[in-house]
C-alpha cells in the first residue's frame, strides 16, 4: 500500500507486528497452559509458561466436582432450542420480507441498530416481570424465549438476504411446470436456502451459548445455570489450585464459537460479514 518501504521501515513493521502478536497471543497461551497444569505447578512460586508435567486432570475435575458438566448440558439445551426456534420462526418471515418488498425489512434492520443503543437494564426489568407473571422466570423455556427474540431481528435480516439470492425465475419456472406454491417452497426454495438456514442457526446458537446477562438475572436455581453463569460463580471460589479447572472449563466454553469462527473465518476476514457478529 505504501509502495516499497525502506529497510528500517520494514524492520519497524515487524517489531510492531511482534508487539501485536505478544499482546494478542500470550494471554491465550496462558489460558491453555493453566488448563493443563497440575495443582503442584499452579501454586509454584514462579510459574512456567509451558507446563512441565501437562495433565488432563483439570478437565475431569471441572466437569465432575464443579458441576460445570451440568452447566454445559444446560447451555447446550438452551442454545440448541434457541437455534432451532429462531430458524423456524424466521424462515417464513424472511421469505415474506425478501419476496414482497415492504417497509418492514427496513424496520427490522432499524430495530437491530436501535436495540444496540439501549442498555439491557432497561429491558431486563420488564422482561423479568413479564416472565414471572407467566411463570417462566427461572426456567430454561423463559431464557430460550428471550434468546430467540433477541436473535430474531438480525436473523431476519440475514436470512432475507439469502432468500433474495435465490433467483425468482426458478420459482416461476416451477409453477409454470405445474407445481403448487407449497411444492415450490419445499422443492425449490428450501434446498437452496439450506446454507442460509445453517448460518442463521449457528448465529443464534452462539449468541445463546455466550450470553451472560439475561441468564444471570433470570436463572436463580444453581442447577439450571448456563455455562457462563456457572463459570462466573466459579471465579468467586478462592484458591490458586482452583485456577486449573477454571481455565479448563473456560477453554471448553470457547470451543463452540471457535468452531463457528473457523467456519466463518474466510468471510469475516474478507469483511463481507464484518458487521454481522456483535461482541
Amino acid at each position: 500500500m505504501f509502495g516499497k518501504p525502506s529497510r528500517t521501515g520494514r524492520t519497524l513493521q515487524y517489531v510492531a507486528l511482534a508487539g501485536y502478536l505478544i499482546f494478542l497471543g500470550f494471554p491465550l497461551i496462558w489460558l491453555l497452559s493453566t488448563a493443563f497444569k497440575p495443582p503442584r505447578e499452579l501454586v509454584r512460586l514462579h510459574p512456567t509458561l509451558i507446563p512441565t508435567n501437562p495433565t488432563l486432570q483439570n478437565f475431569v475435575q471441572a466437569f465432575t466436582e464443579q458441576e460445570l458438566g451440568r452447566a454445559a448440558l444446560n447451555s447446550l439445551q438452551v442454545s440448541l432450542a434457541s437455534a432451532v426456534l429462531t430458524v423456524l420462526v424466521a424462515m417464513p418471515a424472511s421469505y415474506a420480507l425478501a419476496r414482497f418488498r415492504s417497509k418492514l425489512g427496513t424496520v427490522a434492520l432499524g430495530w437491530v441498530l436501535l436495540s444496540q443503543l439501549f442498555p439491557f437494564v432497561l429491558l431486563i426489568i420488564p422482561i423479568f416481570l413479564v416472565l414471572r407473571q407467566v411463570g417462566l422466570a427461572n426456567t430454561h423455556a423463559g431464557l430460550v424465549l428471550i434468546y430467540v427474540v433477541w436473535a430474531l431481528p438480525f436473523a431476519l435480516w440475514m436470512l432475507q438476504g439469502f432468500v433474495r439470492n435465490i433467483p425468482r425465475e426458478l420459482e416461476e419456472a416451477a409453477s409454470v411446470d405445474g407445481a403448487t406454491r407449497a411444492q415450490v417452497l419445499r422443492r425449490v426454495v428450501f434446498p437452496l436456502l439450506a446454507p442460509g438456514l445453517v448460518a442463521t442457526a449457528l448465529f443464534s446458537f452462539i449468541s445463546a451459548w455466550n450470553e451472560f446477562f439475561f441468564a444471570l438475572v433470570l436463572i436463580k436455581t444453581p442447577e439450571l445455570a448456563t455455562l457462563p453463569v456457572a463459570l462466573a460463580r466459579f471465579v468467586g471460589i478462592e484458591g490458586t489450585a482452583r485456577l486449573g479447572p477454571l481455565a479448563a472449563g473456560s477453554l471448553l466454553a470457547t470451543l463452540p464459537s471457535l468452531i463457528f469462527f473457523a467456519f466463518m473465518q474466510r468471510r469475516l476476514s474478507s469483511g463481507s460479514l464484518a458487521g454481522a457478529v456483535k461482541g
Binding site: 491465550l28 419476496r99 415492504s102 471465579v235
Partner: protein, 311 residues
C-alpha cells in the same frame, strides 16, 4: 440483480400492477410475518417502552408493591447521588479510553495486515480469536493474567528483573481501572480491526500510485489519501464501539464486579446492583434512561463534528 430488484418493486404492496392478487397476498404476508413480529413486539418492543416508563416511577421489587408515577423525582435523586456521578465518571473514562485505544491499535494492526508481511496469517487468526470468546471467558482469561501470585504479568515482570513493578493489578485502587480498560481493548479489537481492514482494502490503489508518483511521502499518503477515504468507516466503527463499550457488563462483572471500592463500577454494573441487589427497579430504569440520553447526546456531537469536517 437489477431485473430482480425492478420486479420486486413492481410487486410492492399497494402499488401492484396486478391488483387481483394483492389482497390475498397481503394476508399471506402477514401470516408469514406474524410468528416473528408477535414475539418481538411482546418481548422486545413492549419491555423497552415499559422500561423507559419505569424510569419515571417508584417501582420496587416485591409482589404487592404499588407503582406510582413520580415524574422526574428519580432524576432529581440521580443528580444528587454521589455514587451515580462516580460510576458515571468511571463509565466515561472506560468508554472513551477503550474506544480510543481500540481504534488506534486496531488501525495500526489493520495497516500491518494490509501489507505483505510474514506471519500475517498468524496475526489474522490471532486478531479474530478474542471475538470468538464469550465475554465471561475473556474475563477469566485476564484474571489469570493479572493474578497477583500465579499471574503471567507479575511473573513476566519478575523474569525481566522488574520485580518492584509487581502489583495486585485488579485489586489495587490505582491500577484496577487501567487494567480493566486494557482487557476491554483486547476483547474489542477484532471487530474494529476487521472493519478497518475491509475499509483499507476498499481504498483505491490508483490514488496511492498517483500520490506516490507526485512524490508524496508515505506519511502524507496516509494522511491525505488513506485517512479521508477511510473516514466514513472510522466514524461508523468508533460510534458503534463507543455504544458497545458504554453498555458493556459481563467483562467487568467477572473481572472486578465493580471493585475495589467502586473503582471500576461501570454504570451498567451500578444499575444492575440497584435493580437486583437493592430492588430499586424505578431508579435503575431511570439510570438506564439517563445513559441512553447521554450516549445519544455524545454521538450527536461527535457525528456533527465529523460531518462539518467532511464538508
Amino acid at each position: 440483480m437489477t431485473t430482480l430488484a425492478e420486479r420486486s418493486d413492481v410487486e410492492r404492496p399497494g402499488r401492484s400492477r396486478r391488483p387481483g392478487r394483492s389482497r390475498s397476498d397481503r394476508t399471506a404476508i402477514y401470516l408469514l410475518l406474524l410468528p416473528s413480529l408477535l414475539p418481538i413486539l411482546l418481548l422486545s418492543v413492549f419491555p423497552l417502552v415499559r422500561g423507559i416508563y419505569l424510569g419515571f416511577t417508584d417501582a420496587r421489587a416485591g409482589r404487592n408493591v404499588g407503582v406510582n408515577f413520580t415524574g422526574l423525582e428519580n432524576y432529581r435523586q440521580l443528580l444528587g447521588d454521589e455514587l451515580f456521578w462516580n460510576s458515571f465518571k468511571i463509565g466515561l473514562l472506560w468508554a472513551f479510553g477503550v474506544t480510543a485505544l481500540q481504534f488506534v491499535l486496531a488501525l495500526g494492526l489493520a495497516l500491518l495486515l494490509n501489507q505483505q508481511l510474514r506471519f500475517r496469517a498468524v496475526a489474522r487468526v490471532l486478531a479474530v480469536v478474542p471475538w470468538a470468546m464469550p465475554p465471561v471467558v475473556v474475563g477469566i482469561l485476564w484474571k489469570l493474567v493479572y493474578h497477583p501470585d500465579a499471574g503471567l504479568l507479575n511473573e513476566f515482570l519478575y523474569r525481566i528483573g522488574a520485580d518492584g513493578l509487581r502489583a495486585n493489578w485488579l485489586g489495587d485502587f490505582s491500577t484496577a481501572l487501567p487494567a480493566v480498560i486494557i482487557v476491554g481493548v483486547w476483547a474489542g479489537m477484532p471487530q474494529t480491526t476487521v472493519v478497518l481492514l475491509a475499509g483499507l482494502q476498499g481504498v483505491a490503489r490508483e490514488l496511492h500510485e498517483a500520490a506516490a508518483v507526485d512524490g508524496a511521502s508515505p506519511w502524507h499518503r496516509f494522511r491525505h489519501v488513506t485517512l479521508p477515504a477511510l473516514a466514513p468507516v472510522i466514524v461508523a466503527i468508533t460510534s458503534l464501539d463507543f455504544i458497545w463499550n458504554f453498555n458493556s457488563f459481563g467483562l467487568v462483572y467477572v473481572l472486578t464486579a465493580g471493585g475495589p471500592g467502586g473503582k471500576t463500577m461501570l454504570p451498567m454494573l451500578f444499575a444492575y446492583e440497584e435493580a437486583f441487589r437493592y430492588g430499586n427497579y424505578g431508579y435503575a430504569a431511570a439510570l438506564g434512561n439517563a445513559m441512553v440520553v447521554i450516549i445519544v447526546a455524545l454521538l450527536a456531537i461527535y457525528l456533527r463534528r465529523r460531518m462539518r469536517e467532511a464538508n
